[in-house]
């Protein structure tokens, strides 16, 4: 034992000769010396290369140079040494969390793959309401490379300790410190702010980019909670409550619940508005009013209901008004109606609040006793702050999650005031319009990197948790405030302690409750109270709840609204909101639900007005028909924007969306926020790196008017046409359905009630597409032309055996429920790695959306068989078709989600020369990208035009470098690893989320059960806040989709051409008279 065998390399070592000892000492032998001398640059001059070695060296050099040229691929993946228990490569993890950005609020589930958040979907089990497109596509903003990566003092990057000590010093000496924040609905953040405020004697001023202070004022300082699901009659005066107004995503779910004709009752919706809003497009009755009439309409409703004498309006408006009032009367005292207005004029809001009281809606559809915690901003206070800043009285200003230098009507004054504030600190995530002008920038974490708690209303507390470690050296804004209040606690500990200390039950259970809250996203314990004690100046509370108490004064004020020749109504777009999403390429590329325009801001105008102005040739916009630009001047400010025709716009009014023109000073707000040209470079950028980038659209927050101190989003405008033409990129150039009733079927409620028990295809509004057969199919004993068989029963060749064999995936889309909000479009875009292609490509009609929403307006001539109207107009067939291309002035709207119909007799499949698109044995029409050679024959032969071709290599071609996330180092992390990124030259289209079907089947297999109905959801079905889309197995007799596909309202689009689609649509039922 203890004897270890010894080995030696040779006799030299055994004997320990001198030569051996020397060689051990000398690592580099004489042979290697020459090469190292040669390689060492400094000694190169001294070395002489002997003639005999010349070839050796040359050989070495050539080989070395060659090897150096072949760059070995650098693989940056690092294997887990100790794999975290919850992460299995290839399996997604979901984290319940909450989204809140000051405007939108949603309970979300964050899908992460290998630690990367890649998708946001609604937390249906524990959340309220669905998610809109803005929320579900916000995941990409996490990876935005222009987000601040650490604290900065001016342009100089600093460490946190450097800025902390500098700020601590400045704050200690500063007087009159103000915190300007978006509405804080986080109880713990409020506490942290209070702590900071107490320490520094600071005041919190809450500010909303789009203000609701008039609504708040009219309701005694409370934003009421509305419930649209209980209202049989809904009257909305210019409130886009399913698109952007208040908690629209919650309203949308409530609203669509009562738009089902099969339910016990269906609500009737009246809309009085100026612009064609998403909400207005879903209304049963819609009247066009000028913005100055909003108050007058409200007053008329109030006066008629209370028995007074009301103003009268022109016939079209008056008819709708009379009908609406009659319906409101019917539901009076039952709490079964709801009147809302989108106006922020406190007088108009006051009248509407009174109307709801008169109707007895208080406590049922309106709850103004408790209200919601959103939008607590006070415009008067912000105005005062700007004044104070300009007079140099503000010592320090902390900006938190708002961008007043962009979104204030008097932004210039704010900027000039900001220069006078000695210590200005921005806690925004970007060096945006406001942040870049602040002395310090202390970037907040992205919401997917943050802990938070939110109290949307009293009695509910939601938890937000990080889904990824922070990417860069950012810090929660609350932690920064705590730090500067000399509290060194981390934000997470502060938050947790706050809950622990207020937890009433035995503390030992706290961990369980907390973990459950983190798991579900909802705090189940006693709700946290959102302290309203926002600062030292408690007197301000009194001012905040200034209310309008005098209804008669309100009526007078509302009726006396200023009118003008041209009136402008500002609105928020579904994609852009108040402008926070300007850098989000998915939202920029999302077609606006009404105009279908992408990547742009414009003036909406009624086509009739355009004809009157002599620009009637610029209504049908296409690739070579451009929009005309106009100068709009309001408040002495002018913007130059293109005119977009908008049927349904009130005459002599224009609409412009806020939220555009971000980054006018070339701030670093995100690469996709700026205009790019035909070859992908920033417009105006040229080759100069420092040149100013051009923002998209123009900022019209400056057009906001002020009524009684509140920001009102309408004004009097002057309009001046220019000669300049402008390209507008719209995904849909044609607006009407041309009377093709096999595409869109609709009826009215009374007719539906009469025929709802008839089998599918037998009602007048849903006629079976049949072919006459020599067989007595209608059992009348006679063989004649009435004996028809459904077109689905005819086959030219043997059908694919998918009926009753295994699965047959299908979908049902309720056109009555779908209100066009487009949340499905962005969800599909992100789930399936659909490329973003930018404005120039969309303008060439090459958008890549797998899922789109077709929007049709009604035309005066309903179809070519509408002989009555055609004769009335004195038109022939050709004239009638031409006339049908024009929408009505106040059209009815249809939103029709359209994606691959997965036809059982797919015309695309037969024409592919290489069988790259085939039918699966589960009824799916599937694309084999690897096999596709790109003849585009399939796309030509698709009657639904849903196939999308990869015209370029979107992942590498220079044209897409700024907008396509897959070309960005961080951006590409959002790609879904389950879905192939398609190469140039192949066709792609909706796969019915086959990756989800496969994983759902595997789950069922593991559990040894049949696939449960509803366990597999496509991205669009999951995202739909209106539950309009149902996905399932058509071979499962009990599945919801099977029942829906056989129901009275079900039909297949273009079914008569015999392609046998697996997607069913449900007929629209409108709650109108005819």
């Amino acid at each position: 034992m203890g004897v270890t065998k010894k080995y030696w390399t040779g006799l030299d070592e055994l004997h320990g000769t001198e030569g051996y000892k020397e060689s051990v000492q000398n690592e580099f032998t004489a042979e290697t010396q020459a090469a190292s001398e040669f390689l060492a640059e400094e000694s190169l001059d001294e070395t002489s290369t002997p003639r005999r070695d010349f070839l050796k060296f040359m050989g070495f050099s050539v080989t070395a140079a060659t090897l150096a040229a072949c760059e070995a691929p650098v693989i940056k993946s690092i294997p887990y040494i100790n794999r975290p228990a919850e992460i299995v490569p290839g399996i997604a993890n979901y984290y319940a969390s909450t989204y809140y950005d000051g405007n939108d609020y949603g309970n979300i589930l964050v899908k992460t793959r290998e630690g990367r958040p890649i998708f946001i979907k609604p937390n249906k089990d524990f959340g309220e309401g669905g998610l809109n497109a803005r929320i579900n596509s916000s995941v990409i903003s996490l990876y935005d490379e222009e987000r601040l990566r650490g604290p900065q003092m001016g342009d100089a990057a600093k460490t946190w300790s450097q800025v902390d000590s500098a700020i601590a010093g400045e704050l200690a000496s500063a007087s009159n410190i103000k915190i300007l924040s978006s509405t804080i609905i986080s109880p713990t953040a409020k506490k942290a702010v209070s702590e900071f405020a107490a320490k520094h004697n600071a005041e919190l001023i809450q500010y909303d980019a789009v203000s609701y202070s008039g609504l708040k004022k009219a309701n005694n300082g409370i934003i009421p909670k509305y419930d649209f699901s209980k209202a049989r009659t809904i009257v909305s005066i210019a409130a886009d409550f399913i698109g952007t107004w208040l908690t629209s995503n919650v309203f949308q779910t409530q609203y669509t619940k009562r738009r089902q004709p099969e339910g016990s009752w269906m609500s009737q919706h009246y809309q009085f508005e100026t612009n064609m809003s998403l909400t207005g497009s879903n209304a049963d009755y819609r009247a066009l009013i000028k913005p100055s009439d909003e108050g007058k309409i409200a007053a008329a409703i109030y006066e008629t209901l209370t028995g007074g004498t009301a103003d009268t309006f022109e016939k079209a408006i008056q008819d709708n008004l009379d009908k609406a009032v009659a319906k409101l009367r019917e539901n009076k005292d039952k709490g079964a109606s709801l009147v809302v207005t989108g106006s922020n004029d406190s007088n108009v809001q006051k009248i509407v609040a009174e109307i709801n009281k008169v109707l007895g809606n208080e406590g049922v559809t309106v709850d103004s006793s408790q209200g919601i915690n959103f939008f607590q901003g006070d415009d008067t206070k912000v105005t005062n702050l700007v004044k104070e800043m300009n007079s140099g009285k503000v010592g320090a200003l902390i900006v938190m999650g708002v961008n007043p230098a962009y979104s204030l009507a008097n932004a210039e004054e704010f900027v000039s005031g900001l220069a006078k504030v000695k210590t200005s600190i921005s806690l925004n995530k970007y060096a945006d319009e406001t942040g870049s002008k602040c002395k310090y920038m202390c970037p907040d974490n992205h919401f997917l990197e943050s802990w938070n708690d939110f109290s949307p209303y009293e009695g509910r507390t939601d938890i937000s948790q990080p889904a990824i470690n922070k990417l860069w050296s950012t810090r929660p804004a609350q932690e920064s405030l705590l730090k500067w209040a000399d509290n060194d606690m981390s934000w997470y500990n502060y938050l947790r302690t706050n809950y622990n200390s207020s937890y009433s039950e035995a503390t030992k259970h706290f961990d369980d409750s907390w973990n459950k809250a983190v798991m579900t996203g909802v705090w189940a314990g006693a709700s946290m109270e959102l302290s309203n004690n926002s600062g030292t100046e408690s007197t301000s509370e009194g001012e905040e709840t200034v209310s309008v108490n005098n209804i008669s004064a309100a009526l007078v004020a509302a009726k006396g609204a200023k009118t003008g020749d041209w009136e402008i109504k500002l609105y928020e777009k579904i994609g852009m909101g108040a402008g926070d999403h300007a850098n989000n390429p998915f939202l920029q590329e999302l077609p606006d639900p009404m105009t279908k325009v992408t990547w742009d801001n414009y003036i909406t105008m009624a086509p009739s007005d355009m004809r009157e102005l002599g620009i009637g040739d610029h209504i049908y916009l296409g690739q070579r028909t451009f929009a005309i630009k106009a100068n709009v001047t309001v408040n002495g400010k002018t913007v130059n924007l293109p005119i977009m025709p908008q049927p349904g716009q009130a005459s002599k009014t224009i609409g412009i969306a806020v939220g555009y023109g971000r980054g006018a000073g070339d701030e670093l707000i995100g690469r996709a926020a700026y205009q790019t040209g035909e070859y992908g470079d920033y417009l105006n950028a040229g080759t100069d790196e420092n040149a100013v980038r051009t923002p998209i659209g123009a900022n019209v927050f400056g057009f906001v008017s002020s009524v009684a101190g509140d920001s009102v989003y309408s004004n009097i405008a002057t309009l001046e046409l220019t000669e300049e033409e402008y390209k507008i990129a719209s995904t849909q150039m044609h607006s009407t359905v041309m009377g093709r009733d096999s595409i869109v079927k609709e009826t009215v409620l009374a007719q539906f009630e009469k025929e709802k028990n008839k089998p599918k295809g037998m009602s007048t509004y849903n006629v079976m597409p049949g072919l006459v057969v020599h067989e007595d199919t209608n059992n009348d004993g006679v063989l004649d032309g009435r004996d028809k068989s459904h077109v689905r029963n005819f086959d030219l060749w043997e059908a694919h055996s998918v009926e009753q064999v295994g699965h047959r995936w299908g979908m049902s889309i309720d056109l009555g429920s779908c209100n066009g909000c487009s949340a499905c479009v962005t969800a599909c875009h992100i789930e399936n790695n659909v490329p973003v292609v930018g404005k120039d490509e969309v303008h060439r009609h090459r958008d890549m959306h797998w899922m789109r929403i077709d929007r049709y307006y009604s035309s005066e001539i309903k179809s070519i068989n509408d002989t009555e109207t055609i004769e009335e107009k004195g038109l022939g067939v050709i004239g009638a078709y031409a006339d049908m291309e024009n929408p009505e002035d106040n059209p009815q709207t249809v939103h029709m989600p359209m994606m691959c119909q997965h036809c059982n007799h797919a015309p695309c499949e037969t024409v592919c020369p290489v069988a790259a698109t085939t039918h699966s044995n589960e009824g799916l029409n599937q694309m084999t990208y690897n096999r596709c050679i790109g003849t585009r024959y399939c796309a030509n032969n698709c009657p639904y035009k849903v196939r999308r071709f990869n015209w370029f290599n979107y992942q590498a071609y220079k044209k897409f470098k700024h907008i396509n996330v897959s070309q960005q180092e961080y951006g590409r992390m959002v790609l879904n690893p389950d879905v192939t990124v398609r190469s140039r030259g192949v066709m792609e289209k909706c796969s019915l989320c086959v990756q989800r079907i496969q994983s759902g089947k595997l789950e069922a297999k593991k559990a040894s059960t049949p696939v449960p109905d509803g366990s597999i959801q496509t991205a669009c079905a999951e995202a739909c806040p209106a539950n309009a889309i149902t996905f399932g197995d058509l071979n499962d007799k009990k599945s919801v989709v099977t029942q829906l596909s056989a129901d009275n309202r079900a039909y297949g689009a273009l079914e008569e051409i015999g392609v046998q689609p697996n997607i069913y649509y449900q007929t629209i039922v409108r709650n109108t008279e005819a």
């Binding site: 595409i743 015309p907 290489v914 009657p943 035009k945 196939r947 030259g985």
Partner: protein, 457 residues
């Protein structure tokens, strides 16, 4: 020997002898190129190079360099394809069908018409290739054994039928053309003295000796090939038309397409033959062999095929109304009155109205008028395909997807480029190949030659 009525106009004018025919045809081959030839080949070479540059740009960047979009997936690419295939019809019709019908007047024109066919089909074949998104996988359209498992082509697809139809047509036309060239190559071989030309023509003439046995075999093979080629004349364009006819797009889904396409192809093919020959006879001094009589015969074919095309257009319109199918009738109303009405108007004017002018003998025997007409017909037939493809696609079933097509410089560059390549090839042919089937012509010299006809009297 065959006798021909004296009142029939002679097919070979002037006082020609066998050796003179040989000399006339040989002149451009043995002589040095004329100024005109140099100028023309320079221009067409530049255009061809521009076209090749555009093709390389297309292949480098992607199909997005064309003006296509999500709704209109084919436009100039397939228009050019069908147009070139159509042009490629005249050669085989002239050499095969007219051979079977013993039409002697074809002998003066068949060689160049066949050459035109070969080059036109080459241009046509280019487009289905470059219109693919992934041209580097183009070989997948052939049913080749492969290592991808049981992966096979889709025999239901008309595009696959196209592959077979075009490749068969091309190879048969090529063989037919070449067989006809052999005796003429041998004549050249015998005439040129030494150098590379001797070697080249010796190789090309396959050891032709002019023995009676060779001539017998030559005649037999020609007849057999004519028999094979004749159905091909009808099948190729019928199959090309099925790309559209079997689709479900209104305006494409039409059973009338095969005969309509074939007559349209012959119509445009003859127009292109006329365009080329009228230039060639002047430039190469072949007025004695290709003259008014030949032109008149061809113009008669143009009236017949043009009228068939006209009837087809009107039948389409009638059926679209008679069918009562909304989409179908709208497709045709839109064609005539929609955003692309101008292309429909060009098509109607060029293809239906203008050929009817050939009923006037004075016009159909006027060479200048014929030349202008041939250009008009070529234009009209290009627009016919453009109308069928673009106007049917741009407004199909769902109005939400209605779109429009606007070409880009790459669309134009490639089309013009193929004209350049085609002209370059044709000029090379005119310089190095016998442009008239001289040995065949010699067979009719004594029956249809002007001098011999006079001598008979």
């Amino acid at each position: 020997m065959q006798k021909e009525a004296a009142i029939r106009e002679p097919l070979i004018l002037g006082d020609k002898s066998y050796s003179q025919i040989t000399e006339d045809v040989m002149a451009p081959i043995v002589g040095s190129p004329t100024m005109w030839w140099k100028v023309l080949i320079t221009i067409s070479g530049i255009i061809a190079a521009w076209g090749v540059g555009n093709i390389l740009y297309l292949l480098g960047v992607g199909i997005g360099t064309w003006g296509l979009n999500k709704t209109v997936g084919w436009a100039w690419d397939i228009t050019n394809f069908v147009w070139w295939v159509g042009i490629g019809h005249a050669g085989t019709l002239i050499s095969a069908v007219l051979l079977l019908f013993r039409q002697k007047w074809r002998m003066a024109i068949n060689r160049s018409a066949e050459a035109m066919t070969i080059f036109a089909v080459m241009m046509a074949a280019l487009f289905p290739g470059i219109h693919m998104g992934r041209i580097w996988q183009a070989y997948w359209v052939f049913p080749l054994p492969n290592q991808f498992g049981s992966l096979w082509v889709n025999f239901n697809s008309p595009l696959l039928w196209d592959v077979f139809a075009i490749s068969t047509y091309f190879s048969v036309s090529l063989v037919f053309w070449y067989i006809g060239l052999i005796p003429d190559f041998a004549t050249i071989r015998d005439k040129v003295s030494g150098g590379w030309r001797k070697k080249l023509y010796t190789a090309l003439s396959f050891g032709w000796s002019g023995r009676a046995k060779h001539w017998t075999r030559f005649e037999e093979v020609s007849l057999v090939l004519a028999g094979i080629a004749t159905p091909l004349v009808f099948s190729v364009h019928s199959i090309v038309s099925m790309d559209f006819a079997t689709a479900i797009i209104p305006g494409w889904h039409t059973t009338i397409f095969p005969p309509y396409f074939v007559s349209g192809a012959v119509f445009s093919g003859f127009a292109m033959v006329l365009t080329l020959l009228l230039i060639m006879r002047k430039a190469m001094g072949l007025e004695a062999y290709i003259h008014t009589k030949h032109v008149e015969y061809m113009n008669i074919v143009i009236i017949v095929t043009g009228s068939i095309v006209g009837v087809a257009y009107i039948t389409e319109l009638f059926i679209s109304w008679y069918s009562g199918v909304e989409y179908e009738s709208y497709a045709f109303i839109n064609r005539a009155t929609g955003p692309y009405w101008w292309s429909y108007a060009i098509m109607m004017t060029c293809n239906v109205i203008s050929p009817q002018l050939f009923w006037f003998k004075k016009l159909r025997t006027s060479l200048m008028f014929t030349f202008i007409m041939s250009l008009i017909i070529n234009l009209g037939m290009w627009y016919e395909r453009y109308v069928i493809i673009v106007t049917s696609l741009h407004r199909d079933y769902l109005p939400s997807s209605w779109s429009e097509f606007h070409s880009t410089f790459v669309d134009l560059g490639i089309f013009v480029g193929t004209l350049g390549i085609f002209m370059t090839l044709f000029l090379l042919f005119a310089r190095f190949f016998p442009v008239l089937a001289l040995n065949e012509l010699k067979t009719i010299l004594k029956s249809s030659g002007e001098n011999f006809k006079k001598a008979d009297h």
